[in-house]
Amino acid sequence: MVPMLAQYRDIAPKGTVEFLRRLGERAQGKSMLHVNSTRYGGGVAEILHRLVPLLAELGVNTRWEVISGTDVFYKATKSFHNALQGTKQRITTEMYDAYLHCNRENAKQLNLEADVAMVHDPQPAALIDAHPQGTRWIWRCHIDLSTPQRAVWQFLRAYVVRYDAAVFSLPKFAQRLPIPQFLIYPSIDPLSDKNRELMPEEINHILQRLGVPQDKPILLQVSRFDRFKDPVGVVEAYRLVKKSHDCRLVLAGGTATDDPEGAEVLAEVQGAVEMDPDVHVLLLPPTANIEINALQRAASIVLQKSTREGFGLTVTEALWKGKPVIGGETGGITVQVIHGQTGYTVNSPEGAAFYIKRLLNEPELLAAMGRQAKEYARHRFLITRHLQEYLGLIIHLSRRAS
């Protein structure tokens, strides 16, 4: 096996790799199992592809199982997901039954033996029914549970309370539970296509291909076309800035074909943009990782003007690329954007415009803030920190068990 951890030596904070190796010694010989619902696509799978071999390299015998399901199951879990994130859904008895049936079937097929099992998100949560005696099970919640639809949460909660611990990405997502709830922020992998260093020629080539000239400062927001991301507010902020500063705005997001509200928001954005040649609305596929990377690196300032946000890994990605972020004062943005240090938190298009102008007027401030942003991301939001906390969790739970 090619050692992966050493690749992070010059990227992670000083001494991190040695620290991880020493920490790994304390968890050596333990076995860990991750269970989720997809091998590819989505942030959870993306990070597991790296974390699983890294844990194994550190001596933790780590496996990753993926549950399989029927269309009814996936429809049910998609509705659960939306309901738990606060969008009202109608969930039928058949959907609950399909969910439980599918979990039972998976429990028969999967090898669930491990000292510590981490079950990700609601889809496989009911596997707890089949957990082997003497093992420690953790429910890892990646979604925003701050305002769940109560009936759906009550259903899921009956399973969650039987775990040994739960892990949330922000304190505000935690629920009233009789088990310990830990806080572990998500992370980005600095070696992935979305975050690795790019050569200037590579960036130029990609921007050319996307039709975005680099003749003036670029303001960028990367996000779905979703009202909570406030893309229309971003256009308003750009218009205010444009009165005095020549710049471009790039709104890069996913296609919205399966999401009627997304199509509506996209139409609103296109309406707001009118025929301005300095505004670029880019519909990119989910695989456009290098394109997003290049856009973030080419931008002068990155915006994430959300009015509601989970953790906001697009903010992390921008900080890692040394870009100050002007973000809405909500959710995980407030953990990442330290006002006046790594960017600015705002509550209105006017606030965003004010700070965009300040940064465009003061290139030295912009550069200094960008350096702070990168260092902050290096210490707090890279995969090496994530790895450290998972090891810590294994050690802590094993200590409690013995």
Partner: protein, 223 residues
């Protein structure tokens, strides 16, 4: 001096924190005061000390979570300033520190009654940490070796020997100063006293590390 060898080596231990969400939330200053009173000592420690580990090279608004939340989210700059100036290195015991924080908030609320119930959408979330200590396998016997190790170890080791040692392990001088001054260590009480002062300067952990290395360099170059 450069060659003086301690009778007992200094061994570096780093640490990490596993954070536990306590599910206690304050949306206004009155509730914050009540929850500070009942929170476990580990949680008061986390919100007043772990800041250094979470912001090892840079500083946010104030060096403790209570002050930052009060100023940013409860929009109370006066109380933020009064809490922000608190120096955790002034206190030898977490209960003394808790008492001081409560006295400041209570006094403020006596005079600013409107502030007590002004609510915010971003509540203060109480967290506590479980510290996991890790032996880095680095032992030093001389000041030169000590200086070199301090300059290169993972920053958690600086936190462990300066902050953790004081409050949780009751080594009030911190491990570095204790070893530098001890007869079994290097027997350098003047340097040790200066190292103790480093904690009082309001620096980030990286700033503290840099200052300790500079102090060692001064002693080494004078000898």
């Amino acid at each position: 001096m450069m060659d003086y060898r301690a009778k007992q080596p200094f061994r570096f231990f780093s640490c990490m924190e596993l954070r536990e969400i306590l599910g206690k939330r304050a949306r206004d200053e009155q509730r914050l005061l009540e929850l500070i009173e009942e929170a476990p000592a580990d949680s008061i420690y986390y919100h007043t000390h772990s800041y250094y580990l979470r912001h090892p090279y840079t500083q946010s608004l104030y060096p403790n979570d209570f002050a930052t939340w009060v100023a940013l989210h409860a929009q109370d700059r006066i109380l933020g300033e009064r809490l922000g100036v608190l120096d955790p290195f002034d206190f030898d015991d977490i209960e003394e520190l808790r008492g001081e924080i409560m006295a400041i908030i209570a006094d403020h609320l006596d005079h600013e009654r409107a502030a007590a119930s002004r609510t915010t959408d971003e509540p203060f979330e109480f967290v506590r940490s479980h510290v996991i200590e890790v032996d880095l396998g680095i032992e030093v016997m001389t000041l030169r070796e000590f200086r070199d190790a301090v300059s290169r170890v993972e920053v958690g080791a600086v936190y462990n020997h300066l902050c953790e040692a004081r409050m949780r392990k009751r080594q009030l001088w911190g491990d570095f100063a204790y070893w530098l001054s001890a007869e079994m260590g290097l027997g350098l009480p003047d340097l040790a006293a200066q190292v103790v002062q480093v904690g009082r300067l309001g620096l980030s952990l990286e700033g503290m590390r840099e200052r300790i290395v500079t102090l060692c360099d001064q002693v080494l170059s004078a000898s």
